[in-house]
Symmetry: none
Subunit: 422 residues, 2 copies
């Protein structure tokens, strides 16, 4: 089945509204092995709408039109369908019955603008709308089944689930499709592709490999279809997991903090933080995870040097001699946090987020991290030149991944970061 | 100028990714009086891509293609452009120079997959990418100017702003259009609309009023056009600012933390934090602002009760009698932070983020905030039932706005929050 989507609405063209409806449609149909072949989006322009309906309907089996069924003058899907097919629009008894019932139920009075919603192209039938006043429109244009749906997301969702998907399932064959999504940190898209090319030059065409950067995590997605989809995807999932190796966080959706909290719980280890340049973001990420209180007692944001001394016991001489962004200071921050908070593990960071504060010796992007336990404290310097926001995001992610690796006894650094070691 | 957009990427078809790039493009060009006529979205399918390029380029002056410039096999915009025009692809010296420089700067090794990004259709020129490895592609197909741009949002934004908009402005006429965007916190869209209807029933049709929720800040947008656009927009901007009153943060782009840091600098006041349920997010927001070190020495994330006692001097009896989420504890947290950190002002929060930890007395969403100075410490209880993430976002925003109001000697609470007072 070839399915296309036509979205209509000025708000979709002006940048005010981001289209999430077409993603919802795609997600709802994906389990049936169907996918959207092409999406077209136009404003509320009758001529343009007619032309798109004509072009799209001539080239697919199913056309879902979304939007333009409302009561106002800028809603013109019904009229465009009528003009395209050369049928007049007329009051449809089923649409009128739906609208009357809906108004009665809500205690609304039927008004003239609402009545516009009962005008359908001759020959069309309605699609029930459980959630709103606008019925959907179902008609054939040539060999194409055209389904016009409302733009309000919850109305669309109900109509897709209750009406349209059963209709399509009865009329078109569905496919066996399987998808797997993996969360990866510290390994680039091109490195993964290279490993695949090297180890599996025969990677099968029907196991689609996709990547999506969802900063700072990379999502690796495998899709396959057919009767043996489950078996095939398990096989190739195993192979890609081997290639991703210790950069694998787990199955999506998963962020770094969740994987750290899970690892800490599993190993019954508590974590504290001592943050300078990330200013509380590592703590905030950890406490963003439900149930984090079990392993995260708290942390210290020592942004000023005075607080580094006062709360973490960093020595004045180290601050004066080595500077706040130095090995000796990050070490003392880590030890200070372990002492003060009394956790098993620590993540400590001090760096130069910029845009000011850099020097020739220590340019913006320089950062020291210390992580681990009192007995096994690791210290590294990295260079992550980026704007302030991105720098803080990267350092936060790096800190979280390093403590994840520590807890899981993974020896190496994330590949992307080995090149950033300074 | 007739401008169309072609978006490419399987992730856009599968429901994984919601397209925000085309909205960004629309927003960036709107100040020039340009708009997108039509958007088409297709997956990573070479034949389909070629056909769309051909169809769209034949029917517009400018075609912006977004996506498909990456290093992997599913990136095929360059090849599609080459096939459409009948030109071969070949290594482009400018693209190679850009990529080499970019890799050097980042300390990466140029690999084979990266080199794919230097293959451009013969006759094309590059569009500089200040933020990433993929250069944009500029070429003519018939009378249509075709501009291929990267799918990564921050790369696209930089390329649009620095390269493409100046290019279009030089080649096509732009309209006199003026836009003003105001950042507002704690006042709802319908409240603002109601105030406008009441005070300005004669609000002119040609001064468009738009709203966009950019959580937790509301963006209010005024747009007008014509020779007197500047004068007209200044006049109506003044009127809407009067209506928004003390909920105005300033001109967009502006977040709450920026307005707090600006106010603190202006009044030469330092701020510290004592956070429980927000777990460091308030500190992280403040330190996200460049130059925040001038007024933010640091803060304490006291997630456990033990740390509340140990680092902030909260009494064991208060914790036992009143519980961690109580007026007495938030007061002691605030005083403790002021003592320990020694700042002029404090934001302290303790609440129940959920999903667990609620009770009949103190359901999930209950939160106490204390803010101000030692001599003038304000304490309020709010009820913000929401999922964990949204709760933390709202409490962070509320804490920041309350200290902004304190610094600026604004008496009231934000309107939306007066209803949430518990």
């Amino acid at each position: 089945m070839k399915l296309q989507v036509l979205l209509t609405g000025n708000e979709l063209m002006a940048g005010d509204t981001i289209d999430s409806n077409s993603s919802m449609i795609a997600e709802l149909i994906t389990d049936y092995g169907w996918r959207i072949d092409k999406k077209v989006t136009v404003g509320d322009d009758l001529k343009l709408l007619e032309q798109q309906i004509r072009d799209l309907a001539a080239n697919c089996d199913v056309l879902i039109i979304n939007g333009g069924l409302g009561p106002t003058v800028d809603d013109m899907t019904s009229l465009a369908l009528a003009n395209t097919t050369g049928n007049p629009i007329a009051e449809h008894p089923d649409a009128l019955a739906h609208l009357s019932q809906w108004c009665e139920q809500k205690g609304f009075r039927l008004n003239a603008s609402n009545l516009k919603q009962t005008l359908l192209p001759a020959g069309a039938s309605i699609i029930a709308n459980a959630r709103g006043s606008a019925v959907g429109i179902r008609m054939n244009i040539g060999n194409c089944l055209v389904l016009a749906t409302p733009g309000v997301p919850n109305e669309l969702k109900a109509m897709m689930t209750n009406e349209i998907i059963p209709l399509l399932a009865a009329q078109f064959s569905s496919d066996y499709i399987k998808t797997q999504r993996l969360a990866v940190f510290g390994l680039g898209e091109s490195s993964i592709q290279e490993r695949v090319n090297k180890h599996y030059p025969d990677w099968p065409d029907d196991v689609e490999l996709g990547f999506r950067a969802s900063m700072p995590v990379l999502e690796v997605k495998l899709t396959t279809r057919g009767q043996d989809a489950s078996k095939k995807i398990d096989e190739w999932r195993g192979k890609i997991i081997d290639l991703i190796d210790d950069h694998l966080l787990g199955d999506m959706p998963l962020n770094l903090a969740q994987s750290v909290i899970a690892a800490a719980k599993q190993h019954k280890l508590s974590i504290c933080t001592a943050e300078s340049c990330t200013g509380g973001r590592i703590a905030a990420e950890l406490t963003g995870v439900a149930g984090s209180s079990e392993v995260f007692p708290g942390g210290i944001v020592s942004y000023s040097n005075a607080l580094k001394q006062q709360l973490l016991g960093v020595s004045e001489s180290s601050l004066n001699t080595d500077g706040a962004v130095s090995k000796s200071v990050v070490k003392q921050m880590a030890e200070g946090a372990l002492n003060t908070v009394g956790a098993d593990l620590v993540i400590a960071v001090t760096g130069i987020a910029g845009p000011d504060g850099g020097s020739e010796d220590k340019p913006v992007g320089t950062v020291w991290l210390a992580w681990g336990s009192r007995e096994n404290l690791k210290i590294e310097k990295f260079f992550l030149p980026a704007d302030r926001h991105l720098f803080q995001t990267l350092v936060t992610a790096l800190g979280l991944d390093l403590i994840r690796r520590h807890i899981l006894s993974i020896a190496g650094l994330p590949e992307l970061m080995t090149r950033r070691r300074a």
